[in-house]
C-alpha cells in the first residue's frame, strides 16, 4: 500500500468507489442561460438553518436582484428576487426534494423582463474590512453551492480559540453526470480567483489549495495559467474517485489530516468551499448583489438537450424539463447527482440554491422492480468502500433490529455522511444508506421529543 502510493500520480484518500462518470455528455458544453419561467417559486427555507423572513407583500413589484427576504437569524441567509415581476404570494406551500412542503414566495415574471441585473452598486473589494466582507457574504445570500446549502458566512467566523489556516477549494465534482463546477472553473476562472482572494482575507488563512479531480486536467491547466507565480493559492490534482468531493475526504487527500469524529474542518484549521460558491462570491461581492441564479447541469439519458444551464433560483423543474426537452420514456428525475441526490416525486419542485444538477433517467419496468434483498454474507465489501472507515455491515444489522441508539452510541452512525458507497458495492442489494438515513431521522425525532 505504502509503496504503491509512491507511484501514484494524484493524491487521494483510502477506500471509496469508482462509478462510471458519464460526464462526456455535458463536459464540453459551455454554460448557457435559461429563459425565465412564467412563475418563480422561491422557498424561504432552502438552506441549512433558520428560514428567511419575507420582506415583500403580495401585489408588490420586485426588480431582479432586489432583496425579498431577510435572514431569520445568524445561521440563515436573505433571498433576492431572481426575476422582475409581481409578488403573487409569500406563503404558498411548494413541494421540495426533501419531502415536506415549505412556504415560498411566488413571483409572476413580467413578459419582457430582462436578464440584466440592474440592482446593486459597484464597490472596491480591497477596501472592505474583514467584518464588512463577512457581512457582505451574508447579505449576498450565499450558501454552499456544492449541494449542502450551508450558509457561507458562518464558516468565516470560527469559534473562539480556533483559527482558519488553510482554505480548501473543492473542485472535485465526484458525482457522476455533473459538470457544472468543471465549466465554472474553465469559464469563470477570474471570478473564482477573485473569490478566493476575498475569502483568504475574510478568513485570515495563509494559503489556499484548489483540489480538482484528475479527470478535469484542462481545468487545472486553466487555473494554473491564471495564478501568478509566488501566489499563496495553488491548484492540485487529486485522484478521480467517489466521494473525493466530500470535504473530509478532500482534506485527507490534500493535507493528509483527519477531521475528528463529530468535529468540523475548522477543528483542524481548515475551511472548505466549493468552486461554484467562490466564483459567485467573486462576482457578487464587488457589485453588492445577491445570489439569484446558479449553474445547473441537466443531463442523463432522458434529456433532449443536456447541458450546463444558468438557471434562476426558483425555476420549477417542470419548466426546466420543457426547455431542455425530455424524452417520453423519461420517468425518474433526480435533483443533485445520482449517488447522493434525491429522486423527486413532483416536477413542481423548484430549483434551489443547493441544486447542482438534475439527472433524468429512462427506467424500464425491469429497472423499476425492486431488487431482491439477500441476507448479509459478511463479505466486507462495504467496509472496504466506506470512506470514513465505519462498519456498514454491522450498522445494517442493528438497523434491521431497530437498535438505532446503539448505532449512534457504539458504531459512530453520526459520522456517516450518506455517500452511498456501501449500498453501491453491496452484492446482497441491502439498502444500507437508506437504513442509515432512517436511523438518523428516528434519532433526531427521539432527541427532539426528549428536549
Amino acid at each position: 500500500m505504502g509503496l504503491l502510493n509512491l507511484f501514484r500520480r494524484s493524491k487521494t484518500f483510502r477506500h471509496g468507489v469508482h462509478p462510471m462518470d458519464h460526464k462526456e455528455q455535458t463536459a464540453h458544453l459551455a454554460i448557457r442561460r435559461l429563459p425565465f419561467a412564467p412563475k418563480i417559486y422561491v422557498p424561504l427555507a432552502q438552506h441549512i438553518g433558520a428560514p428567511a423572513v419575507a420582506l415583500v407583500k403580495p401585489g408588490q413589484e420586485v426588480v431582479r436582484g432586489e432583496p425579498i427576504a431577510e435572514a431569520g437569524g445568524f445561521v440563515s441567509v436573505p433571498m433576492h428576487a431572481p426575476v422582475t415581476g409581481i409578488v403573487r404570494a409569500i406563503d404558498q406551500l411548494v413541494p421540495t426534494a426533501a419531502g415536506p412542503k415549505t412556504p415560498a414566495i411566488v413571483i409572476e415574471t413580467y413578459e419582457a423582463a430582462t436578464q440584466e441585473v440592474l440592482y446593486g452598486l459597484d464597490r472596491d473589494l480591497n477596501a472592505l474590512t474583514r467584518e464588512e466582507l463577512i457581512q457582505a457574504v451574508q447579505a449576498s445570500g450565499m450558501v454552499g453551492l456544492g449541494g449542502a446549502a450551508f450558509p457561507s458566512h458562518v464558516k468565516l467566523l470560527p469559534p473562539q480559540g480556533k483559527a482558519i489556516e488553510t482554505l480548501i477549494i473543492n473542485g472535485c465534482e465526484c458525482e457522476p453526470y455533473l459538470t457544472c463546477d468543471h465549466r465554472v472553473m474553465l469559464e469563470q476562472t477570474d471570478r473564482l480567483i477573485n473569490g478566493i482572494r476575498a475569502m483568504l482575507r475574510a478568513t485570515g488563512a495563509r494559503r489556499a489549495i484548489i483540489g480538482v479531480e484528475d479527470n478535469k486536467l484542462d481545468a487545472v491547466r486553466a487555473i494554473r495559467e491564471k495564478l501568478p507565480a509566488g501566489e499563496t493559492i495553488s491548484c492540485e490534482a487529486v485522484e478521480t474517485k467517489y466521494p473525493q468531493g466530500a470535504e473530509k475526504m478532500l482534506i485527507s487527500s490534500l493535507l493528509n489530516r483527519e477531521v475528528p469524529s463529530g468535529g468540523l474542518p475548522v477543528d483542524i484549521g481548515v475551511a472548505v468551499y466549493n468552486v461554484g460558491t467562490l466564483a459567485q462570491l467573486g462576482e457578487l461581492i464587488p457589485r453588492s448583489r445577491g445570489l439569484i441564479e446558479r449553474v445547473v447541469t441537466v443531463s442523463g439519458p432522458g434529456v433532449g438537450k443536456p447541458g450546463n444551464y444558468l438557471v434562476p433560483i426558483g425555476t420549477p423543474l417542470r419548466f426546466l424539463m420543457e426547455q431542455v426537452g425530455s424524452s417520453s420514456a423519461a420517468n425518474e428525475v433526480i435533483v443533485g447527482g445520482p449517488m447522493m441526490g434525491m429522486s423527486v416525486a413532483s416536477l413542481d419542485v423548484p430549483v434551489t440554491k443547493g441544486v447542482s444538477g438534475v439527472v433524468v433517467f429512462e427506467k424500464t419496468a425491469e429497472d423499476q422492480q425492486q431488487h431482491t434483498v439477500h441476507p448479509c454474507i459478511k463479505c466486507g465489501a462495504c467496509l472496504d468502500a466506506c470512506p470514513i472507515h465505519l462498519n456498514p455491515s454491522m450498522l445494517g444489522q442493528l438497523a434491521g433490529a431497530r437498535m438505532y441508539e446503539t448505532m449512534a452510541s457504539d458504531y459512530h452512525l453520526n459520522d456517516c455522511f450518506e455517500c452511498g458507497c456501501c449500498s453501491y458495492v453491496c452484492p446482497s442489494n441491502i439498502p444500507l444508506t437508506q437504513y442509515f438515513r432512517i436511523a438518523k431521522a428516528v434519532n433526531r425525532e427521539t432527541k427532539a421529543i426528549a428536549a
Binding site: 419531502g99 429522486s343 416525486a345 423499476q368 425492486q370 432512517i438 431521522a441 428516528v442
Partner: protein, 291 residues
C-alpha cells in the same frame, strides 16, 4: 501408601476450601440480603409480560412494583382481561380502578382509491424510507404512505392494511401502547378515548381546490363543521379543522353533517365510523392512475 495420602490430602484440601468458600457465601447472603416483596413476582405472573408500555411504566415488572406501592391501579393494564385485573386487585386488596378504553386512530382517510398519487415509489418498502425520498409518492404530503410500518410494529396484531393501503385498527385488540404513534413518519396516529367520537381524519394543511386536487377525502378548511358545532369545539388552525377534546361533552353528530368531503367522522363505540350525508359518495374500488 503414598497414593492414599495424596488422595486424602487432596480430598481434605478441597473439603476445607469448599467449606471456607461456602461460609463466605452464607455470610454474604446474610449481610448483603435485599428484601424484595414476594408479591411482585406473584403480580408479575398475572401480567401479560408484553412490556408494551401502554400503562405508562417502562415494562410489566416496574408496573407490578407500582401496583404494590400504589402508583398504579390494576385497571391501567389495558392488555389484560378484566377478570385477570380483578384477580390482581383481590390479591393485593386494592381498588380495581377505572381506565377508560383508549384506541389509536389514523388521521388520514386517503386510500389509493381516493388519494391522487403523483409518482410511483420503487425503493425500500418502508414508510420511513419513502418519507425520506421527496416525501413519498402520494400527492398529499401529509397523507398515509401505506407501506404498513405501523402494522409491522404493532405487538398485538391490532393493525392490518386494507385493500386501499390504509391501516385499519382493530379496537378490541388495540391497547393504546403508543408504538404506532411513534413509528409513523407522518405522525398520523393519535390515541383517543372511545368516548371521543368526533375525529378529523386528515392532516392536510392546504385549503380549497388546492387541497381537493390531492385527495377526495380531505379537509378543505371550509369551516362548516366549526360553524355548526357549539362554539370553541372545532377550530380551524393552519387550514385544518382541529377538535378541542376538552370540550368533548359538547360534541355531537351535527359537526359531520355538512362536511363536503367526509374528512370529519363520528366513531361509534363498536369501532365503525360514519360520515355526514353531504359527503361525497365514493363508489370507485380500483386505484387511481399514477401521474
Amino acid at each position: 501408601m503414598t497414593d492414599i495420602t495424596s488422595i486424602a490430602l487432596s480430598v481434605g484440601f478441597m473439603a476445607v476450601l469448599g467449606s471456607i468458600l461456602a461460609s463466605i457465601l452464607v455470610l454474604a447472603n446474610k449481610r448483603l440480603f435485599v428484601y424484595e416483596d414476594p408479591r411482585i413476582d406473584d403480580v408479575e405472573d398475572l401480567l401479560p409480560r408484553a412490556n408494551c408500555g401502554a400503562c405508562g411504566s417502562p415494562g410489566c415488572r416496574p408496573f407490578a412494583e407500582g401496583l404494590i406501592d400504589g402508583t398504579y391501579e390494576p385497571a391501567q393494564c389495558t392488555v389484560n382481561a378484566k377478570e385477570t385485573n380483578e384477580l390482581i386487585a383481590n390479591y393485593l386488596g386494592v381498588d380495581l380502578g377505572a381506565q377508560e378504553k383508549r384506541v389509536a386512530r389514523l388521521a388520514c382517510a386517503g386510500g389509493s382509491h381516493v388519494a391522487f398519487i403523483r409518482a410511483s415509489y420503487a425503493g425500500m418498502s418502508s414508510c420511513r424510507a419513502a418519507a425520506l425520498v421527496s416525501g413519498g409518492g402520494k400527492g398529499c404530503s401529509w397523507g398515509c404512505l401505506g407501506m404498513g410500518d405501523c402494522a409491522v410494529v404493532c405487538d398485538f396484531d391490532a393493525i392490518s392494511m386494507n385493500k386501499y393501503g390504509l391501516p385499519v385498527v382493530n379496537e378490541d385488540r388495540c391497547t393504546a401502547c403508543n408504538d404506532c404513534v411513534e413509528v409513523c413518519p407522518k405522525d398520523l396516529f393519535e390515541l383517543h378515548s372511545v368516548n371521543e367520537q368526533l375525529f378529523v381524519a386528515c392532516k392536510n394543511l392546504e385549503k380549497g381546490e388546492e387541497a381537493e386536487s390531492q385527495c377526495e377525502v380531505i379537509c378543505t378548511a371550509c369551516e362548516r363543521c366549526a360553524v355548526d358545532s357549539p362554539e370553541g369545539l372545532i377550530d380551524i388552525r393552519n387550514n385544518l379543522a382541529v377538535v378541542d377534546y376538552r370540550k368533548n361533552d359538547l360534541a355531537s353528530k351535527v359537526a359531520i353533517e355538512r362536511c363536503p368531503t367526509g374528512a370529519i367522522v363520528w366513531f361509534d363505540k363498536q369501532g365503525g365510523y360514519q360520515v355526514g350525508k353531504d359527503a361525497k359518495k365514493i363508489i370507485r374500488k380500483e386505484m387511481l392512475p399514477i401521474g
